[in-house]
């Protein structure tokens, strides 16, 4: 995923998706994120309707863990989980971090990404389509809202990630043109 | 009250001789009360049979059948609009209208039938049509029995006939584009009447080899034959007045006889089913739409009771 380590060191470590990262310290961060999004965008969650109670797995291919999301406001869940021990779930989206990040932004057409083969969808297609439609009703960018939580370093990190997500083959101009 | 049996318009492109022989046999042997003549699907076919309609109508009338002239479902070209206007203005035959263009040309209040292509799904629409002179309505094939029940009551109050298709392929879609021609790399304008090759519709299977649909000119039909024989008693009880048999490439006289026996209570369902089996249809049976399920499905009595 991220080439943040110096080359010689990066070459001696296992690939990022296999790093033995402890999950426990990550959980509070993810929980804060989902609570913040729920507070800022209640309409997103209302629009989910019965799928608030659906358990989604978001499998970020280049992370050493997957994410379990249950967008039920009275009992929100967003936590890191081990791929080999996934909790019971009804729908799953798999893709690399760059692709998923582009989905959370507001600049690109989600359908183009969604129905390309860059994302692999399995399980309850209706739940996933509902989630996508609900996310689209959010004014502004969810990714930006989350980055804001972490102050200026968050915003800087997001800017760097966006640039990397777009990569050398991108259109480049999707940020102006508002 | 015992429902009437009707024979719907032939949807496929059968040549004139085939049709005349077919209707001669119907006139002489089929226990149907009403026969619908006419072209619903493609105006290019009309010139081949129009010239015989009067003669065939007369033959059927002599055979004790009531005759209704049924009109085009899709109207766009000048000659199609003229066909609707001519039909609306003549007085020789009762008519069934399948397009709003046909309704437009009707003299004020002239009695007419409304066909299954007119989307009469609800009581308000039917009440409207009756206020403009409709005496009889055939409901869309996808309408579930629960809705037909409501409409049957409405129809009784309004004093009109209510008809349901009980046999034959369901029309699932129509289009301006001819899918028959397209399969052969042609367009509607230069089709060379390729639809004549498939007297029971052209197969359209999934890439897994599963039977799915049939193509007939601009029309897309179900592969399965709708067969609501087991539902006839319920239909009679709710007040459906007419049961429509759509002609398929099979012994339609025998099909009519089986339905005749069922409406008269002369035959058990199991025996009826056995008789249908001897006819060796080219397709499985279905009744999904009636039961509010996927149209291709067949819901049997036991399963229905559990539902």
């Amino acid at each position: 995923m991220l080439n943040i380590l110096p080359g010689p060191l990066a070459r001696r470590l296992p690939p990022p998706s296999e790093l033995p990262v402890p999950l426990l310290p990550l959980q509070p961060v993810f929980y804060r994120i989902v609570r913040r999004v729920a507070a800022k965008h209640p309409e997103l969650f209302e629009r989910l309707g019965k799928h608030q109670r659906t358990d989604f797995i978001i499998d970020v291919k280049d992370f050493p863990f997957a994410l379990h999301l249950r967008p039920f406001p009275p009992a929100l869940i967003l936590r890191a989980v081990r791929r080999e021990r996934l909790p019971k779930h009804q729908a799953a989206i798999a893709g690399d971090f760059r692709t998923l990040l582009r989905m959370l932004g507001a600049e690109e057409d989600g359908d183009a990404i969604f129905f390309s083969r860059e994302l692999v969808i399995s399980g309850d297609t209706e739940a996933i389509v509902t989630l996508r439609n609900a996310m689209d009703d959010v004014e502004g960018s969810i990714a930006e809202d989350v980055a804001e939580m972490f102050g200026p370093p968050g915003k800087a990190a997001l800017a760097r990630l966006n640039a990397m997500a777009e990569g050398p083959n991108s259109e480049g101009d999707s940020h102006d043109n508002g | 009250m015992k429902p009437r049996l009707t024979l719907g318009p032939v949807q496929y492109f059968w040549d004139a001789d085939t049709k005349r022989d077919f209707y001669a046999r119907i006139a002489d042997e089929a226990p149907v009360d009403t026969v619908y003549l006419g072209e619903n699907v493609c105006s290019k076919r009309q010139p081949f049979f129009d010239q015989h309609i009067e003669e065939v109508a007369e033959r059927l009338t002599r055979g004790g059948k009531r005759v209704v002239h049924s009109g085009l479902a899709e109207v766009m070209l000048k000659r199609e609009r003229k066909s609707c206007a001519d039909m609306a203005e003549q007085d020789m035959l009762e008519i069934e209208v399948n397009n709003a263009a046909g309704l437009f040309h009707l003299p004020e209040g002239k009695p007419h039938r409304v066909g299954p292509y007119m989307n009469a799904y609800g009581e308000e629409t039917i009440a409207w049509m009756v206020s403009k002179g409709a005496t009889h309505v055939t409901v869309p094939t996808e309408l579930p029995g629960s809705s037909v029940e409501v409409l049957a009551k409405s129809a009784a109050e309004l004093g009109i006939g209510l008809e349901v298709q009980v046999f034959g392929r369901a029309c699932l879609a129509t289009s301006a584009r001819c899918y028959h021609a397209r399969a052969y790399g042609r367009t509607k304008d230069n089709c060379q009447f390729v639809c004549e090759e498939h007297a029971d519709g052209m197969e359209l299977n999934t890439r897994d080899g599963q039977s799915f649909l049939r193509v007939n000119g601009i029309q897309t039909l179900s592969h399965s034959y709708v067969n609501l024989f087991a539902e006839v008693p319920a239909m009679a009880a709710m007040g459906v007045t007419d049961l429509r048999l759509m002609p398929q490439e099979t012994d339609m006289v025998e099909v009519a006889r089986i339905f005749d026996d069922i409406r008269d209570g002369r035959i058990e369902m199991a025996a009826a089913e056995a008789r249908f089996e001897t006819l060796n249809f080219a397709a499985p049976l279905s009744n999904g739409f009636w039961h509010g399920e996927a149209g291709h499905r067949r819901i049997t009595a036991k399963a229905a009771a559990l539902a």
């Binding site: 309707g49 083969r117 692999v120 | 206007a85 609800g122 996808e142 996927a294």
Partner: protein, 336 residues
């Protein structure tokens, strides 16, 4: 308020309140949308407006000089008319600028109960001849017809000469093939009806099935609609966009239509000349980014054409389904 004097009215879709605001901000003259139920033909999960959201949307639009058109373009089955009646009454209360209808019972109700409100005839009514159109104008006072996508420009010219109402045509988006309002393909495969429930290829009956070699088959209600190799992009399984086989075409072929998108940007001047006064963009189920991009592009194009300039359009191909585009029947009768 629609007066019918605007030539080149841009009519844009909104699947969510955020989309509506985006469309208004991007320059749409009118926005069409529906409630979260079977009363409209885009009854998809997570889409459409609650009554409160529609109220907010109408406020937002009216404050910025845009119109809101309420889609009530499905067919109420017997026993369920109340849902459509309530939706119509609510629309009047919320001061929508027009209703888009297909069913005669619905048209009659609105023309009698809300005679001061505009009725537009949906493409779902499949009125493709001056006779059919004039029927609806005569009986229900319909002020505008949304023409089916099957007509050529010369045919539109001829129709315009014989009818007494405004014409709206689609200019961009998903290419509908079957005569609208007459299609029960989805119901045959799934048990849910396009005409009665407002759904087409419902997501909860869609499955993407991958085999051991990486091929993907897309299925609806258990029927395989299409198959894709490991390197190919898999489309959504809409029955009329699938590939099928028979004796004439033993390899899978697009029996009905390729999954391509309508793009009439180059025909704008011809359409205006033929008498079309309103241009409709399809896509209530598309994202805000799509809405913003497409509406802005067509706003600029329509303004250019009205001012006598050549429309300069950004390439919209990337937003078209399957990345290919067509001018469909509008260009040539050979499409039929």
């Amino acid at each position: 308020m629609i007066t019918g004097d605007v030539v080149g009215e841009l009519v844009c879709p909104a699947g969510t309140p955020a989309s509506l605001r985006t469309a208004v901000d991007a320059g749409a003259d009118s926005i069409y949308c529906g409630f979260q139920n079977a009363t409209n033909a885009r009854n998809f999960p997570g889409l459409n407006f609650t009554p409160r959201e529609l109220a907010g949307a109408v406020d937002y639009a009216h404050q910025r000089g845009s119109n809101v058109l309420l889609a009530l373009n499905s067919y109420p089955p017997a026993g369920k008319f109340d849902l459509w009646r309530e939706a119509a009454d609510l629309g009047a209360e919320l001061d929508v600028d027009a209703y888009i209808v297909a069913d005669m019972g619905v048209a009659r109700y609105i023309s009698e109960k809300h005679p001061d409100r505009r009725l537009h005839l949906s493409v779902q009514a499949a009125a493709a001849s001056p006779d059919a159109i004039n029927y609806y104008v005569r009986e229900f006072g319909v002020k505008r017809i949304v023409l089916p996508r099957i007509l050529t420009i010369p045919e539109i010219h001829e129709i315009k000469a014989e009818i007494d109402c405004e014409i709206e045509t689609f200019i961009f988006g998903n290419h509908g093939l079957m005569v609208e309002g007459r299609c029960s393909l989805t119901n045959y495969a799934t048990g849910l009806s396009t005409n009665m429930d407002g759904v087409c290829s419902p997501a909860h009956l869609v499955e993407y099935v991958k085999d051991s070699e990486g091929n993907m088959s897309t299925q609806l209600g258990g029927y395989t609609i299409d198959r894709f190799g490991p390197q190919e992009s898999a489309g959504y399984p809409t029955i009329c966009k699938g590939r099928y086989c028979n004796e004439v075409q033993p390899d899978g072929y697009y029996a009905f239509e390729e999954p391509i998108s309508l793009n009439l940007s180059k025909l704008l001047p011809d359409l205006m000349e033929a008498g079309v006064t309103a241009f409709k963009i399809e896509g209530r189920q598309r994202s805000r980014a799509y809405v913003r991009k497409v509406v802005s592009a067509f706003r600029a194009a329509v303004d250019d054409v009205r001012a006598g300039r050549d429309p300069k359009l950004a390439d919209l191909v990337a937003l078209t389904e399957g990345q290919k585009q067509t001018e469909g029947a509008f260009k040539t009768k050979k499409w039929r």
